[in-house]
């Protein structure tokens, strides 16, 4: 589903290379965890996958279902089924959450040549999905992410994911700032989306989230490269020993 081949990327208009020859393959149905110390390039990788302009790919390729997505803008990638749940969801004053959800869902449908949702159907979908994530309907009346608590923002991200039904879900530090109850709700939301034709990339700092979203593969990112891959036991090993040993081996 996702193949990243010898990817090199830098911050646009600078010489600061952040991703330095990264290789990674994620198969349909797989949950892949990417772990790594601060500054290893985890968030940058999520931005590059989603198509953020601030980064420039200088070498290598990203294939999604066998096709390069490097030339696609974020909206085109989204309509092909790539979704990024942000570490820090952006507050957008003046844009009503419900209206935004409706526009996003319908624009994706249009891009795929599907019919737009009728308002009652849309309302029903939102109501069902938000109930599962224990989202207060009042929250959806506010402008997008404005005045949401940290936990509400993360839940709102998962709500968008549930409604947009992407094929490749990238979760960037979705556990940060969540208490254990909120973490369970969010993890349940992600697990509910698990399916044989959908892949999830979980980017995280800590093993804690992986107790709830159990990965099939674990990859350690360091200085812009995957330096070690394994199964979920690798996450436990990191939790017990920290990154130092693995980094030492790779060096």
């Amino acid at each position: 589903m996702l193949e990243i081949k010898n990817l090199h990327a830098k911050i646009a208009d600078t010489d600061t290379e952040i991703i330095r020859g990264l290789n990674l393959t994620v198969k349909p149905g797989e949950i892949a965890a990417i772990m790594g110390p601060n500054g290893s390039g985890k968030s940058t990788l999520s931005y590059i996958l989603s198509g953020r302009e601030d980064y420039e790919v200088t070498e290598g390729d990203i294939l999604y279902n066998g096709e390069s997505i490097l030339e696609l803008d974020p909206a085109e990638r989204a309509s092909k089924g790539i979704f990024l749940a942000f570490q820090y969801p952006v507050e957008i004053p003046g844009v009503a959450t419900m209206q935004f959800l409706k526009v996003a869902m319908n624009e994706q449908r249009k891009a795929r040549g599907e019919e737009e949702l009728k308002t009652p159907d849309f309302m029903r979908l939102v109501k069902e999905a938000s109930a599962k994530l224990q989202i207060n309907p009042d929250m959806l009346k506010r402008p997008l992410n404005v005045g949401f608590s940290g936990g509400e923002k993360k839940r709102a991200e998962i709500l968008q994911m549930a409604l947009l039904e992407p094929k490749l879900c990238i979760l960037d530090e979705t556990d940060s700032g969540l208490d254990i109850d909120a973490l369970k709700i969010v993890a349940d939301g992600v697990n509910a989306l698990k399916s044989p034709d959908r892949a999830v990339v979980v980017i995280t700092h800590y093993q804690r989230l992986l107790d709830y979203i159990v990965p099939d593969t674990v990859h350690v990112l360091y200085k812009g490269q995957i330096i070690r891959s394994g199964d979920k036991s690798l996450a436990l090993e990191l939790e017990a020993n920290g990154y130092a040993d693995i980094i030492g081996e790779a060096a």
Binding site: F83, V90, V103
Partner: protein, 424 residues
């Protein structure tokens, strides 16, 4: 040094004088009114239209910008437009002349022309200050308008909509409005030009709010693409009066909206909100002069501007707090979304504070669309163009939403969306 003062009139200035001469004997007014008219015109003739050398006209050099003045023309056939809010009482003017109107309960309506004829208009016809060019032009030429009285304690069930409709030519109107003590009303002052040929419009509304009156006054300027609109709102706030003044500019080629507000009653509150939608080759100026003259009054002013193409915008906001006006709380902000490299916006906030125990502040921002907002929306599949349009709309819609009355908010949002669809 040899200074040559050439008193050469511009084309527009000559046209104004010619228009006045052509209408002598025809402009309504008793002796008192006519002598005020003559004096105002005389001052216009000797002083000329204001230039950038007059401080309050520095960013809008009317003498240079007003290239021509269209001749006075009879009204084309103009049909009333649907009121902004359904159920509103509509008072229509066509080419500056008021239709016969039935007043809703609690309101008395008189034609301004009648007050010119009987001379009761003479006092109010004078200019508001030495730099009041709009007052001079309007005072010289005004033929009609409406004199409204809202009775003490009257609460209007539905909004009142003044529709000033016109085609090419000249339109000069006045709306003296007195809101009685404790009255409550929403009034929409709507200016709408039809057709592509130029009109010169001047309009002055003079609002007096009695003690405890609560008023929402909305100025909706939707002039034609070739029109000049010279508007002025004069306001006097009584004790504990509350005024929400919304000014929406969504049309015109050359526009100046002057807001001259005097806060003269303790405990009163002013909420000024402005939305300027600017595009094409246009020039739009909103100039506020706000005097806090008594203690314990509040005001907030927020102006939001969206600028496309080669449009130019100006906001001058002068807040004066008199020495007696302790405990004044005044906050002014002007935020601009600059969406073209060829557009520009000038902001001149000024605070003159003579009292020592006040809270006054102002801020101005100029920005393009926030790239982080765009990126976030696009990652959800919203195409760039749609995301941009939503963000531009949100920037101004936030201001309109403060009105709270749903029907009014929806109507104004509809006008904003339609404008943005045409320009974005």
């Amino acid at each position: 040094m040899n200074i040559q003062t050439t008193n050469r009139l511009t084309t527009a200035e000559s046209a104004l004088l010619d228009a006045y001469n052509a209408q002598i004997g025809d402009l309504p007014g008793d002796g008192a009114v006519l002598s005020v008219r003559d004096r105002l015109l005389d001052e216009l003739k000797t002083g000329g239209l204001p230039t950038r050398r007059i401080e309050s006209w520095h960013y809008t050099d009317l003498r240079a910008l007003l290239r021509a003045v269209p001749a006075v023309q009879p009204a084309p056939s103009l049909s009333a437009v649907k009121p902004l809010v359904s159920g509103a009482s509509v008072l229509t003017l066509r080419q500056g002349a008021a239709d016969a109107a039935t007043a809703p309960e609690g309101v008395t309506v008189r034609r301004y022309a009648d007050s010119l004829v009987d001379g009761t208009a003479a006092e109010g016809l004078r200019e508001a200050s030495a730099d009041d060019a709009i007052g001079r032009i309007n005072g010289s030429f005004v033929r009609d308008g409406l004199v409204l009285e809202i009775a003490d304690g009257a609460e209007l069930a539905a909004p009142l909509e003044i529709q000033s409709l016109h085609g090419a030519g000249q339109v000069h109107t006045r709306f003296p409005v007195r809101f009685g003590a404790g009255s409550k009303a929403t009034v929409i002052e709507r200016h709408r030009g039809e057709g592509d040929e130029a009109a010169l419009v001047s309009s002055i509304s003079a609002l007096t709010l009695g003690d405890g009156a609560e008023v929402t006054w909305i100025v909706l300027q939707e002039q034609g693409a070739a029109d000049t609109h010279l508007g002025q709102i004069r306001v006097e706030l009584g004790a504990d009066a509350k005024l929400r003044l919304f000014v929406v500019n969504a049309g015109g080629k050359l526009v100046r909206q002057e807001l001259r507000i005097t806060v003269s009653g303790e405990g009163s509150e002013l909420t000024l909100r402005g939305v300027n939608l600017l595009g094409g080759d246009t020039h739009t100026d909103v100039t506020l002069v706000l005097d806090h003259n008594v203690p314990h009054t509040n005001s907030t002013e927020i102006i939001r501007n969206v600028i496309f193409d080669r449009a130019r915008g100006v906001f001058q906001g002068m807040i004066r707090v008199a020495q007696a006006a302790q405990k004044t709380d005044a906050k002014m902000a002007c935020n601009t979304l600059l969406l073209s490299d060829d557009a520009d916006f000038s902001v001149k906030p000024e605070l003159e504070i003579f009292a020592d125990d006040v809270l006054c502040g102002h801020g101005a921002t100029v920005a393009d669309i926030d790239r982080n907002h765009m990126y976030y929306m696009m990652t959800r599949g919203v195409p760039e163009k749609t995301a941009r349009a939503m963000l531009v709309y949100a920037f101004v819609a936030q201001i309109v939403e403060e009105l709270e009355e749903e029907s009014l908010v929806e109507a104004l949002e509809g006008i904003i969306s339609a404008w943005l669809d045409r320009h974005a």
